[in-house]
Subunit: 432 residues, 2 copies
Amino acid sequence: MADALRVALLGCGVVGSQVVRLMREQADDLAARVGMPLELAGVAVRRPNRHPEVDAGLLTTDAPELVTRDDVDIVVEVVGGIEPARSLLLSALGHGKSVVTANKALLAEDGATLHDAAARAGVDIYYEAAVAGAIPLLRPLRESLAGDRITRVIGIVNGTTNFILSRMDATGAGFEEALGEATALGYAEADPTADVDGFDAAAKAAILAGLAFHTRVTLDDVHREGIGNVTAADITSAKAIGCTVKLLAICERTGPPGSEQIAVRVHPAMIPATHPLAGVGDAFNAVFVDAQAAGSLMFYGRGAGGAPTASAVLGDLVAVARNRINGSRGSGESAYADLPVRPMGEVSTRYHVALDVADQPGVLAAVAGAFAENGVSIQTVRQEGRDDAATLVLVTHAAPDAALSRTVRQLSTMAFVRHAASVMRVEGMASD
Amino acid sequence: MADALRVALLGCGVVGSQVVRLMREQADDLAARVGMPLELAGVAVRRPNRHPEVDAGLLTTDAPELVTRDDVDIVVEVVGGIEPARSLLLSALGHGKSVVTANKALLAEDGATLHDAAARAGVDIYYEAAVAGAIPLLRPLRESLAGDRITRVIGIVNGTTNFILSRMDATGAGFEEALGEATALGYAEADPTADVDGFDAAAKAAILAGLAFHTRVTLDDVHREGIGNVTAADITSAKAIGCTVKLLAICERTGPPGSEQIAVRVHPAMIPATHPLAGVGDAFNAVFVDAQAAGSLMFYGRGAGGAPTASAVLGDLVAVARNRINGSRGSGESAYADLPVRPMGEVSTRYHVALDVADQPGVLAAVAGAFAENGVSIQTVRQEGRDDAATLVLVTHAAPDAALSRTVRQLSTMAFVRHAASVMRVEGMASD
């Protein structure tokens, strides 16, 4: 056996450069923890002249060659995106390299192919950094809770949207204005689609659900709504019922044993201001896990950023390196449960609905009738009059999501309803 | 290889009976996750007739025989205490069994002997359940953060004392009264010494510090103060400065690289009511971990109770079983750093001091002079007069603990100081 484990790094941007730094600064500690030094064998980048922090001799533009080199033991991928990341990692696995990746999009799109390739090669693929940055979350789900039955995972897993919603809440700004601020401050990328439209959070939700419920979940299985339609009126309406608006990732197990389903969704929701997730600010992520025996657990920390994400990458790197030295692998994919995905329309949710209505007799009766017709019961109603108009604010009990959205559509066609001022799901209330 | 892994359980009380239940109820899931069924080979108890929940054929009073039986692969110990637990586990390890234990006292007293025995035998000893019940904490410290540099761990890790302090805070009760309530409600044991005097928290702190700093830490290395001397006046004084009193376990790394030390302590402290740990109620535990790259992480959940602790035991059981099937072991003890323990007197702390003093000119000057003489600078002073007496409330900046306690001793000898109404360390303030 060689006297060091050699690491190929794909990508040297915000995260990769921190991986290089930490590997250098903590070399002695890492060697002691692994039982052997970790050496950088090469760093694949697009523009070698932009990386003065890396020994020039290590830099290469030929990633496909790097991942197959005989002197490489472990490939760390922090490039992101589907291709060429997928081809590179499959090639690395095929050549017997262990893999550490932070690539949530790839894992959510095609994790199965990667897991299968790793299993065939008898090597590891670890990806703690793919979800919630530095927060140890995947390892606890995969290992610490492997003897328990997880029923629900709910969390804030995207920092950009959390920053935007926090600004809207703090300043009363509309979405576009808050997005502009986020872009100016570097919290949002030039093309913010992946964050704002919920793709990033949905990819993370797919990964979390797969681990929590021992089943394969892809991005397509996730019901996804972004925050682009969240208005200042929604934020105001949320405050009026003691809530705040957050983009939530929610993974649930539903139905009786034997005919269980899972439901995975990402959408904005109103949560009580007293809920621990309501206080999660800008750059932070937090995830609640409910398990039958363990009860409720919360994990909180920095969800993004170069150093926090690199911390998660290095934790995986140490684990994968130890396994290689021991000639073993960590626990691979666990997808035996093979659970069907419940369509969003059948998922049980609660709605907050604020309607601007004509102030005339019978309006409340008609509105209540529409909910009743669809089998939705109402928890609270508040009516606020102003001049000849009034606002009706309703919070429902839980009902199938389709029944709720059908009711809202029906209400919007009623002559006395002038405007649906705010329609949003409500989560985390005590009666849930 | 056999077609099942066989588990010997030592102890069938609050935790053990839940382990039996969960192994039965989740047998199919556990088999799928491990790759082989987990079977109960035997359960060692003192009084077999008290365990109707266990097949009579499995019960035995002969634990020493059970842990050496050829048909046992894994020994789960949930008895607690030093002996006979230590002898039984050493015998089990010596016979090649993997071990899962929740025994914090034994690990804090003599973890090294157990780790050495496991290493010699090439088997695992896992103990997630020993600290903070169901909260995945040890695995994140040992594995997820293995590529980072942990600087501080601070948390609430004992439910009994947290209940007592919460009651004192809520009702104004004194210590004895709140302890009586805790005993009546089953939150405190008949002999509450281990909890109240901080032994339980100190054992957990030793385990956390050892994992966080890659060094051996025993109970003797932990500075330990219980809550028996916390008074209603302390609680009132804490409120007056916007704080609440908690029993904290604090593990720190101090000093420059090359001459680093660690400090591990358990004592009551005032923390700001806005600090996340201040809101941690009765049965819950919460632990903050600060790491250089990852930043601040928080872990929160149920710290005790049969089912939550059993969840942690089963997570370890699955991990240990997978390793056995793979012919591998998980990461063993990591104690390469071998760091010296800083004496409590040299640890940097802050004090809150409330003094009942005679209301005469020059008192504040004399008090301030005593602090200055000992090199302690004062952050805030508040003086409240009443009749011929006054109360001086001081919060210091950080200083060596010995200088602070020397100052307090000196003050108490001054003629105009009638009474030290409340002396307690302060943690978690923004200027720390």
